[in-house]
């Protein structure tokens, strides 16, 4: 029987593990945290259907009960080696050794560290939060300013750490726009009286139902979308955030005082993704994500034989695409093993 080692227990890793196990392949799933789910653990509701993110997470977890899957929680691969027969051996942080016939990298993304965009004042101004922080607030059902007041004016800032050469990130993170729309609607539901702005460069509504959601946000939920990139932010004595932005549709500079500013942080390759690429000699794209062998036919393949990739370690993806990508990786691996 063949064995596959999967590194990373986020949605991609979990789904791939289940698919492979269902095909009768022995799977070792390595996850550095003490629970699976990865970034999904930080999410409240999903777009576009607004389902509870934890329901999906739970479902993925239950699938891991399959007898063909061995979970290694709280473990990290400390060394990966490949022998002449194309077999991989992975040493884990507790010293144990796993052996497998193929390796699936599912190490995912990390969100951009908003402190690197110092002009937006994250970590300096009291009322600046990231989209991840906001998800947390949603889960606690408490949207408050640092003083504990209800924010009357909220600004959501798009493209923080994405499409920005000043932080060396040229890529679009693809999901933040729709996250912004979803979060604006959620905010509106909780705070019917507040004013809510989105400051965007372009609205990228790529998925089914997204554009509709964006339209609804404007028509039904009265969210104001302003096209323009934030140039700088300052804090006043009341700890409100004063932002300077140019409304590029009206061609006018704009100054807005916000009670709460939300930064839609972009996605970057996680440290583990970069580390694995280095360890395995796999190429990185200029964006820092792993470069697939071919964008159409080989998006789960790398230049290294027996090393496969799936999920956000190769590019920002929404959950739909991530799960599809995991299944596609499972197909590729099964075929590879059968030909061996």
């Amino acid at each position: 029987m063949h064995t596959v080692i999967i590194i990373g227990g986020g949605p991609a890793g979990c789904e791939a593990a289940y698919q492979l196990a269902s095909d009768g392949i022995q799977v070792h799933l390595i996850e550095k945290n003490n629970e699976t789910g990865g970034n999904l653990n930080n999410w409240y509701q999903l777009f576009p259907d607004r389902k509870n993110a934890q329901d999906l997470n739970k479902r993925l977890q239950e699938q891991l009960n399959h007898p063909g899957i061995t979970l290694h929680l709280g473990m990290e691969p400390s060394r990966v080696e490949k022998d002449g027969q194309g077999r991989f051996s992975v040493s884990l942080s507790d010293g144990s050794l796993l052996e497998g016939d193929a390796l699936l990298v599912a190490t995912g993304f990390k969100t951009f560290d908003a402190k690197r965009k110092e002009e937006y004042g994250y970590g300096i101004y009291e009322n600046v939060v990231t989209s991840v922080d906001l998800e947390n607030m949603f889960r606690n059902h408490a949207i408050r300013t640092s003083k504990g007041d209800v924010p009357r004016r909220i600004g959501i800032i798009h493209c923080v750490g994405s499409r920005d050469e000043k932080v060396c990130n040229f890529h679009c993170s693809k999901l933040c726009c729709i996250t912004g729309v979803k979060q604006a609607i959620e905010l509106r539901e909780m705070l019917p009286e507040s004013e809510i702005f989105c400051f965007y460069m372009d609205m990228r509504m790529f998925g089914p139902g997204y554009e509709e959601m964006y339209r609804e946000a404007q028509e039904k939920y009265n969210i104001k979308f302003i096209r323009g990139r934030l140039s700088e932010a300052a804090e006043n004595r009341e700890h409100q955030v004063q932002v300077k932005v140019e409304d590029t549709l009206l061609g006018r500079p704009l100054r807005v005082t916000l009670d709460l500013m939300v930064l839609l942080v972009g996605m970057e390759a996680s440290n583990e993704t970069q580390g694995m690429a280095r360890e395995l000699g796999v190429k990185l794209a200029p964006s820092g994500f792993i470069l697939p062998l071919d964008p159409h036919y080989g998006n789960n393949l790398t230049g290294e034989k027996g090393v496969f990739i799936t999920g956000c370690c190769s590019a920002p993806m929404n959950l739909t695409d991530t799960l599809n990508d995991a299944r596609s990786a499972a197909v590729c691996i099964t075929r590879y093993l059968n030909m061996k």
Partner: protein, 589 residues
């Protein structure tokens, strides 16, 4: 009378050269602005002239600065300049002792061995012969080194020698042949008539064993004279124009002539004073990080001299000043580069009319704080300065807290002085209306232009200097901690304004500062320079990555700088070591 027709090429060459140089320099100097010409008149009979003579001796002859950078290269330059100089001086003295008159024609000393019948001795004739041979051997050795350098430039600690035009190669060959030709002519004469010393005498005896010297000797002297004459004629159009021009430049510089915003005769003189030593190539990060090899001063100035297109090179420069700091001739490289940038903007006072003047402060604060546009992108720095002011109980006003006007330097360093001037006037008004005694700024870019281009009557300080002052006056409570720091001195602050000690003092008092080879004026450029409009963002990132690497090699806990732009630029690539401003370190201690 001592004369022979073969002295003609030398004499004609020399006279032509002298006449040409006089006309050239006169024309250039005439184009100076009046104020600079007055400075020359005042400086001429002052101590400054003596200082210049000393400097000429140290630099033009001994090449003491090149020595400091690179001893082998220095030796090579020195043998040529100083060796030739000694040869001329001792030759002249020798001829005067022999002839007992100061007024023999110039060629007499140069061709002394031809005219002097060897058997006829005079006081010290053997000593002179020995000294002259010694100097000649010293020169020949220099040439040998130069030839080797052409082929193995690595040995001299240089990554590459400057690339030459064919014309320059011709002149170079002529120059290299002069001394071997002299050696041959003197040896031949010595082989026939005797005379000379350990070098020419022995060589003469040796040549006499197998060469018909009597037939060859006269021709050898013609060759020597012709090579000299040819060299003099070619000199003004070759790199060797730097020899006389550097001397002129040293005088003018010491008399106080300045490189101004316009490209003028003084710029031409400096352009021609470049010896093409190539030292600037190795200091340039565009070369080291981005492999750009046509924009360094040696090439840029050559384009200017040869009237080739320099529009790209003019803009492709960080104006970091690293080359200027290293240039042994001390050419104002940044100012010259800037003077060649065209002013492309159409800006009038109306352009910025929407910026309202600030009302006169009723009770002026003692200190006016001007953060600068860049600092508004790094609120951490502003925060820290505010904390420091509060801790030291300083009465201050924050000039550009709500809205500010750009200091104008970003426009100026791209050549757009008209736009800059409008902004500068606006800003000056706002600063003056504060009525403060000290202007403190967090941005070295603003700082430099406040000092150089504004006519502010208040004391101007960068925050490093101001913090240093507060610490010295004991106004700022202070706790030294174990943080290991390295200091990245911003180009505009260290090399640009000479602020080197203040940040080091401050850092030593609040942290464990690790000295680096990039300290003070040797600092690197962060790569974020606003002055370069040619390279793209990836190339800039490459420079900052390399800079971060260089500092990280010292394994600091934090890389400290004193400029919002440096902080942002280095911070974007430094993922493992944090980059902070000195104000943030002080505020946190």
């Amino acid at each position: 009378m001592y004369y022979d027709n073969f002295v003609l090429p030398f004499t004609i060459g020399l006279i032509t050269l002298l006449v040409y140089l006089c006309v050239r320099y006169y024309k250039w100097i005439r184009s100076f602005p009046k104020i600079d010409r007055i400075k020359i008149r005042r400086g001429l009979f002052s101590r400054k002239t003596l200082v210049s003579i000393k400097e000429i001796f140290m630099e033009s002859l001994l090449h003491h600065k090149i020595f400091k950078t690179n001893p082998v290269l220095g030796y090579m330059h020195m043998t040529f300049a100083f060796g030739w100089f000694l040869l001329i001086i001792f030759g002249k003295i020798e001829s005067m002792v022999y002839h007992t008159s100061a007024f023999n024609p110039p060629y007499f000393a140069i061709f002394f061995r031809y005219f002097h019948p060897a058997k006829e001795t005079f006081p010290g004739s053997e000593t002179f012969a020995f000294i002259m041979d010694l100097i000649l051997s010293f020169l020949l050795l220099g040439i040998l080194l130069a030839v080797i350098k052409r082929f193995y430039s690595k040995m001299f600690g240089m990554k590459r020698t400057t690339k030459q035009r064919p014309y320059d190669l011709l002149v170079l060959t002529v120059l290299w042949l002069i001394f071997p030709a002299r050696f041959i002519a003197e040896s031949f004469s010595s082989g026939i008539n005797g005379g000379g010393s350990f070098l020419t005498h022995s060589a003469g005896e040796f040549f006499a064993t197998f060469l018909p010297l009597r037939n060859l000797s006269y021709g050898a002297w013609w060759t020597y004279s012709s090579l000299l004459g040819l060299f003099f004629l070619l000199l003004p159009f070759s790199r060797y124009m730097h020899i006389p021009t550097e001397i002129v430049y040293i005088f003018l510089k010491n008399w106080g002539v300045e490189q101004r915003k316009q490209y003028n005769g003084f710029s031409e003189i400096q352009t021609n004073a470049c010896s093409r030593c190539g030292i600037c190539i190795n200091t340039c990060q565009l070369n080291n990080s981005c492999d750009i090899k046509d924009t360094q001063p040696v090439y840029f100035l050559r384009r200017l001299r040869n009237h080739e297109d320099f529009s790209v090179q003019s803009e492709n420069c960080l104006l970091c000043g690293r080359c200027e700091a290293a240039c042994p001739v001390g050419i104002n490289l940044n100012a010259i580069r800037l003077s060649t940038r065209p002013d492309l903007t159409r800006v009038t006072k109306e352009t910025y009319a929407y910026i309202k003047p600030k009302a006169q402060a009723e009770t002026p604060a003692k200190v006016a704080y001007f953060a600068g546009c860049m600092s508004h992108l790094t609120p951490g720095i502003i925060r820290s300065m505010q904390e420091i002011f509060d801790k030291a109980k300083v009465n201050y006003t924050f000039i550009d807290e709500e809205e500010g006007v750009c200091c104008g330097r970003p426009q100026a360093i791209c050549g757009n002085w008209k736009a800059a001037k409008v902004l500068m006037d606006r800003n000056q008004e706002r600063i003056e209306s504060s009525g403060a005694e000290i202007l403190v700024t967090s941005c070295p870019i603003c700082y430099k232009t406040f000092k150089e281009d504004y006519t502010l009557k208040i004391k101007i300080m960068h925050h490093t200097e101001y913090i240093d002052m507060l610490l010295q006056e004991g106004k700022l409570p202070l706790h030294k901690n174990d943080l290991k720091t390295v200091f990245h001195n911003p180009c505009e602050l260290g090399r640009g304004c000479g602020v080197v000690d203040a940040p080091n003092h401050v850092l030593e008092q609040v942290s464990q500062r690790i000295p680096t080879r990039y300290d003070g004026k040797n600092s690197l450029c962060c790569g974020g320079s606003l002055a370069n409009t040619v390279i793209d963002s990836q190339q800039k990132t490459k420079i900052s990555t390399d800079t971060v690497k260089a500092y990280s090699a010292y394994q600091p806990d934090v890389i400290v700088t004193a400029c919002p732009l440096c902080k942002k630029t280095l911070g974007k690539t430094s993922t493992s070591v944090p980059v902070k401003d000195i104000a943030e370190i002080v505020a946190a201690s």
